[in-house]
């Protein structure tokens, strides 16, 4: 089951969900709008960027890594991080088919931004949304890989073991 906006607020108060900073007017009927943090990585050029107040134009069809401004997490619910419809309508991907946030993760989330046409992005803008989903079964908390990182974090797939 997906939590309604009202339930997100309740679980936040009960400490079952973390959204920090929290702003009540970013609650939607079944999600919460997250904001874009200032730091960006241009993956192709391996370049770090701080997005200025006047915005930054990203090149199309190439990935950038950003992060949420907020720390988001839950030990009770699983999460899904996606874009806002207003950004999807401008052709901006916020993740590359990896929307699932594991139960037990709590940090600023890395976003995989890909533009389908040149677009100007701004720090602190409401860029995406997170939804919370009820689990079925005993929870083994996520404690691997990316769970401790609050900056845009590059892929660590090279640390995985490959078998022939």
């Amino acid at each position: 089951m997906i939590l309604t906006g009202d339930q997100i607020r309740k679980e936040l108060k009960r400490g079952k969900i973390k959204i920090d900073p929290f702003n009540a007017n970013q609650v939607n009927p079944n999600s919460y709008n997250y904001r874009l943090g200032k730091k960006l990585i241009d993956v192709e050029r391996d370049k770090k960027i701080v997005i200025p107040e006047e915005g930054f134009v990203i090149r199309p069809h190439t990935p950038y890594l950003g992060s949420t401004k907020e720390q988001l997490g839950s030990d009770t619910y699983a999460m899904s991080l996606i874009g806002r419809s207003s950004m999807g309508r401008l052709g901006l991907f916020l993740q590359i088919s990896a929307d699932l946030g594991h139960t037990g993760s709590s940090h600023c989330w890395t976003l995989e931004l890909v533009a389908t046409q040149p677009i100007r992005i701004y720090p602190n803008m409401q860029i995406g949304q997170i939804s919370f989903w009820e689990n079925k079964g005993r929870i083994e908390k996520y404690s691997k890989g990316y769970s401790l990182h609050s900056r845009p974090t590059k892929s660590k797939i090279h640390n995985d073991t490959y078998t022939k």
Binding site: I2, P29, T116, Q117, I119, Q126
Partner: protein, 173 residues
């Protein structure tokens, strides 16, 4: 929990789900197939900017089809009006469309509960592909929410046809 096709049909009959027009043959095991309407939108800006109202052209997909070139992006819409005050709809591509490399949304698959209207498809082609009006292009699934429901009253309520981004209305909030 996700609704099965039998439950979708039942809740459509109980008027807890809006699907107009409704065609029983569009039901799949866990979803309802959505068809592409003929109107589409293309931005005419060199750089789109969420802070402002971006200019666009509205055009029609001819019956003979429209060639979407690789890397191009347009907004289309569903023929069907979709919504629910009881369930959360989520939009997906048809697997057959995804296998041709066409995205039908750009990471914005979640529809607010209480939002009723035509779905705006965010069409992004990863290879050259021809699209046709009336083709089955996407599907909608319905999910059970937990908690008290506040219905959507946002800027895309009662959408008709493809709707361009209204991000500028809420920018700076």
């Amino acid at each position: 929990m996700i609704l099965t096709q039998n439950k979708i049909r039942e809740e459509y009959q109980n008027e807890n789900i809006t699907i107009t027009p409704f065609n029983a043959s569009n039901l799949s095991t866990n979803s309802y197939d959505l068809t592409l309407d003929e109107t589409y939108i293309q931005y005419t800006e060199d750089i789109v900017d969420p802070k402002k109202k971006n200019r666009y052209e509205e055009k029609l997909i001819p019956k003979s089809g429209l060639l979407l070139k690789k890397s191009s992006f347009i907004l289309g819409s569903s023929v069907e009006k979709i919504g629910s005050d009881k369930y959360v709809p989520i939009i997906h591509a048809k697997s057959s469309i995804a296998r041709l490399g066409l995205f039908v949304h750009v990471t914005a698959d979640l529809i607010d509960i209480g939002s009723h209207g035509n779905i705006t498809f965010q069409l992004y082609a990863t290879s050259n592909i021809r699209i046709y009006p009336g083709m089955q292009i996407g599907q909608v699934s319905f999910w059970v929410p937990k908690g008290d429901i506040t219905l959507y009253e946002g800027k895309y309520a009662d959408s008709e046809g493809p709707k361009s981004s209204k991000s500028y209305l809420s920018f700076g909030n």
